[in-house]
Symmetry: C2
Subunit: 222 residues, 2 copies
DNA sequence: ATGAAAATGAGTGGATCCACTCATTGTAAA
DNA sequence: TTTACAATGAGTGGATCCACTCATTTTCAT
């Protein structure tokens, strides 16, 4: 979670720049905007890990922004933090009950802000990575052994993860079924996998933990 | 998220029973314990969707309980709510910065409690269901067809999701391999699945989206 | 340019999965 | 009590997966 992307929505210019400076100083990427409209545009383009949002904004307020966030499926794993001067108990409860992940009231210290960000990132990291945990049937150490696979083997494993069967992969890569079968055997051997379905299970598990970009080390052109 | 399981840890007897009564009245299952030790025992046995925990407890305090929770992989998708009399700003920040999902201070109203619970459940529901989204290769509508499976078929699908092969499942359920094969065919037919590996792929995907408790509708004793 | 590793392909065999059909027994609801 | 459905088991056949061995060609680095 080093290069985490954080979207800041705050209309007071000084405060916005201050927040961006603090967060940027700790190694995170920051996008800061003054209005809800611009925030929504940004959210359509990219996928922030955290959104820090004031409540009192011109036109579209913070509640409305959060409502939009909840409607965007790609942001289900984005943490939302309210940062506002509205500090009564009913204010905070309202924000949290909407489903916010944290609620910071002004004035706040640099430490409070950065600690909140860190706590949410840590939680996101745990939830994203640990989805399938230890109770699976595949050897944990196998992940490190992936680097021992050759380019072609990685490509084949990638196709398996996409759900393609041996004959389908053979067609896609313009080789014979026998070749793919041999690759599968070699992959299974290197990963210490055994038994039917163990390879497809491993590949799918890999895909879950590594959704966007495919396998480590880029594969061959085709 | 109707039959959600909620674990309450509170040493004051009256308050604990009061909380359990409120939560139970809204249709959730509740387990309430007075100490951290008992809470840890419970967490090993089952997988709560939400843990509501006081901070000041005898022996093991709330912070310690939360630290234990974070170490248990199966509880990564469990929401943790502090409920405590410690209400200063530094108290609340400390709790949230540990990674808590909400922080309620005493005294609290029935509405505040139940709204907090509801907000966390809604968020959990969104995050659990939307994990893999559209990019998979299995028919979306199949999920709704799961309810058409019989008890035995659900049990078999559950075992497949756990990674067991046909002969292993047959042994576990004390029936012949032929019976399991027939169940697999019937399941595939009902879910409109076709081709090799499609069933194991579907089952694994299901497990990802539904980590803790197994399949909808409880399975037969054995 | 030669050797090592990678990629390709084939042969064989066994185990499993998938898809059909058919039959028997139990169970629960009409 | 009948009727419907669930659960069990078997037969057959084809496709795929898994595991071994062997051989040829290509690629790449020393």
């Amino acid at each position: 979670m080093d290069g985490a992307l954080i979207l800041v929505i705050e209309d007071e210019t000084l405060l916005r720049e201050n927040i961006a400076e603090i967060i940027g100083h700790f190694g995170f990427r920051v996008i800061s905007v003054p209005t809800g409209e611009e925030a929504i545009k940004v959210m359509k383009e990219c996928t922030p890990d955290i959104i820090i949002c004031d409540i009192m904004l011109p036109e579209i307020d913070g509640y409305e922004v959060f409502a939009r966030v909840k409607q965007m499926p790609k942001l289900t794993h984005t943490a939302f933090i309210f940062l506002t001067v509205k500090s009564t108990r009913s204010d905070t409860r309202a924000g949290m009950n909407m489903g916010a992940d944290d609620y910071l009231t002004k004035p706040f210290t640099k430490e409070e802000l950065i600690n909140s960000v860190r706590a949410r990132l840590e939680k996101l990291s745990i939830m994203r990575q640990g989805s399938l945990e230890k109770d699976m049937f595949v050897d944990e150490a196998a992940y490190e052994k992936i680097i021992n696979l050759t380019k072609r083997e990685r490509k084949v494993l990638d196709e398996i993860a996409e759900g393609y069967t041996t004959p389908q992969i053979a067609k896609k890569l313009f080789v014979s079924k026998k070749t793919i079968e041999n690759h599968r055997v070699n992959i299974s051997r290197k990963l210490n996998l055994t038994g039917p379905n163990s390879l497809i299970s491993f590949a799918l598990r890999l895909k879950v933990q590594n959704p966007s970009h495919h396998l480590p080390e880029k594969q061959v052109s085709n």
